[in-house]
């Protein structure tokens, strides 16, 4: 998922600098120009990456907070938004103290070490292992935004019934035991699944199909099963209290996702544009897929279906966005819209678990589908795997490397395994320490009043 400045852009920049600085005296030498060119490249890349950092944060707050907040009953709107917001606080502080280091310190094949703890050695100079043209701080911040949104995605599964203290403890342990190791394995230097930095099983995951969406989505399923259903589910009406909020949230997610995926190019380059286009195509095709499926099945195309589909498509295109061409992005998106629709509408009803806001149906299933299809459609024309000598080799099945699908399946299986076992253990620990669920009185009253002592809508005030 990383690209360093290309030779052609060097030459172009060099030529421009030469023209712009027509010398009054002796012409500048190449040696004079090299640092200036590097500085120009760094300025461009860093501008885009800082914007991308902010875009990804926007996905959690207010994007996800609004998307989920609108889907719950109005007595739980603040409690649900708080679950996203508190991660912007806690995940950030954990990341600063040790999370970044455990994810991206060299460590071993499974987890990082403590070399970057307390931001030690994380400064304005680039970390050339990860992103050679932007400050190490920018790379750290970009990755931090992923560590924030990933646990926030899970909150959709246990919405409307988890104690706030339990949610906080769960997400702290979840980040430690699941997110940091997964991020290290797939993206960290020497991680076992890292396709570019010495992994033994090169799994392609451009922006987080396995690390973000499978881990969060599958953990969400475990949460829904272990915590049990909401009181009254599915007999009582649990209609979303404001699809208007959800609509705004979903559109902010779509917007922010350009930072998530195109930002994962780690530079303002052609690969970023490629990922940007794939992301957008995937989202649109998935929204169409879900809308059509629903239209045929229920006779009406719904706005909730449209926004659910677009999120499913964004999830599925995430691992593929930096490896596939635009037309496969449409296919991946459309498939995600249809498959996630059936996961949410049919599979959930068949098994009867209360994944309240469909974090599993959308992120778990969409992420899995996307990770597998990445192996199918990845091509060296977009972003190539390299052999030991650094030459581009066939990347996905469309290039003739069918083995990549197997590597993807291994990555998927490891992500599912870690998420299932890890989440189950963490939930049991949290249950013993603070108890998972609110009391039935508190649940009936709503999380806003019972957990936070405030209400979302004081219209008579």
């Amino acid at each position: 998922m990383k690209k360093i400045l290309s030779a052609s852009s060097l030459t172009t920049l060099g030529a421009i600098s030469l023209l712009a600085q027509a010398p009054p005296a002796a012409p500048p030498t190449v040696a004079d120009l090299v640092p200036k060119i590097a500085a120009a490249q760094s300025a461009g890349d860093n501008a885009w990456m800082l914007a991308s950092c902010a875009l990804v944060l926007l996905m959690t707050g207010p994007g996800l907070a609004l998307f989920y907040g609108g889907l719950v009953r109005k007595k739980n709107v603040l409690g649900t938004m708080m679950q996203s917001f508190i991660l912007m606080v806690i995940a950030t502080i954990m990341w600063a103290l040790f999370g970044y280091s455990l994810s991206f310190g060299d460590g071993n094949a499974f987890v990082g070490d403590m070399r970057f703890a307390l931001m030690n050695g994380v400064g304005m100079e680039p970390n050339t292992d990860y992103a050679a043209t932007i400050p190490h701080l920018t790379w750290m911040a970009f990755q931090m935004m992923f560590a924030i949104i990933t646990p926030a995605l899970i909150t959709g599964a246990f919405a409307e019934r988890m104690k706030f203290s339990a949610m906080v403890l769960f997400t702290i342990l979840w980040s430690l035991l699941i997110y940091y190791p997964m991020a290290h394995m797939v993206w960290g230097k020497g991680g076992m699944l890292n396709a570019f930095l010495g992994g033994t099983v090169p799994c392609l995951d451009f922006a987080g199909g396995t690390v973000v969406h499978i881990t969060s989505g599958v953990s969400a399923l475990i949460c829904a099963v272990v915590m049990g259903k909401r009181l009254g589910y599915p007999k009582e009406s649990m209609r979303p209290h404001s699809l208007v909020l959800s609509f705004i949230g979903a559109c902010l997610l779509w917007f922010g996702w350009f930072g998530f995926n195109a930002g994962s190019a780690l530079a303002a380059n052609g690969l970023a544009s490629s990922a940007f286009v794939a992301t957008h195509f995937g989202a649109a095709a998935a929204a169409l897929g879900w809308i059509l499926a629903e239209w045929f099945q229920h006779g009406k195309p719904s706005i909730l279906g449209g926004i659910s589909g677009c999120v499913a498509g964004l999830v599925a295109i995430t691992p593929a966005s930096g490896f596939v061409k635009p037309m496969p992005a449409l296919i991946i998106g459309f498939a995600a819209g249809i498959v996630c629709y059936f996961a949410v509408v049919k599979v959930k009803a068949m098994f009867g678990y209360d994944d309240s806001l469909d974090a599993f149906g959308i992120h778990g299933i969409g992420g899995t589908l996307g990770a597998i299809l990445t192996g199918v459609f990845a091509t060296k024309e977009v972003n190539a795997l390299k052999d030991a000598a650094g030459n581009a080799i066939n990347t996905g099945w469309v290039d003739g490397n069918s083995g990549q699908v197997v590597n993807q399946l291994i990555g998927v299986a490891i992500s599912w395994g870690i998420a299932i076992v890890g989440s189950f253990v963490i939930l049991k620990i949290v249950d013993v320490v603070v108890g998972l669920r609110v009391t039935s009185e508190q649940e009936t009253m709503g999380l806003d009043l019972s957990m936070h002592g405030e209400e979302g809508y004081n219209l008579e005030a």
Binding site: M238, R239, P240, S302, L304, K348
Partner: protein
């Protein structure tokens, strides 16, 4: 004195107000309510989950009028609120024992 209570379709409120104004009825109390009679509600589907929504939004219009005017008011109300379709609502008429104007303790029909 009679209290006339009409449950009507929300979109008919303006017409009803106009009709009452036209026959000189100035005072009324309007409340947003929800309910259903024979009109069945509708189905809503959210991600495949179906909900039967049977309490529909209605407007409740209440006024107290002299006995002599009650039929006239009822007829103006029902004409204005009628679409002829199921769900148009109902009118209920009650006897009122007393009316008191809080400002000056005036009583009876002159307090209306």
């Amino acid at each position: 004195m009679k209290k006339i209570e009409a449950i009507i379709q929300p979109f008919k409120l303006e017409e009803v107000k106009e009709a009452l104004k036209a026959i000189g009825i100035d005072g009324m109390t309007v409340t947003e309510v929800r309910g259903h009679g024979r009109q069945k509600g509708h189905k809503e589907v959210y991600r495949g989950q179906e909900y039967q929504v049977d309490l529909l939004p209605k407007m409740k219009v209440e006024m107290v009028v002299p006995d002599s005017r009650s039929e006239e008011v009822i007829s103006a109300l029902s004409t204005a609120a009628r679409t002829g379709k199921i769900g148009d609502g109902k009118i209920f008429v009650y006897e009122v024992a007393e009316a008191i104007r809080i400002r000056n303790d005036e009583r009876g029909e002159s307090a209306l």
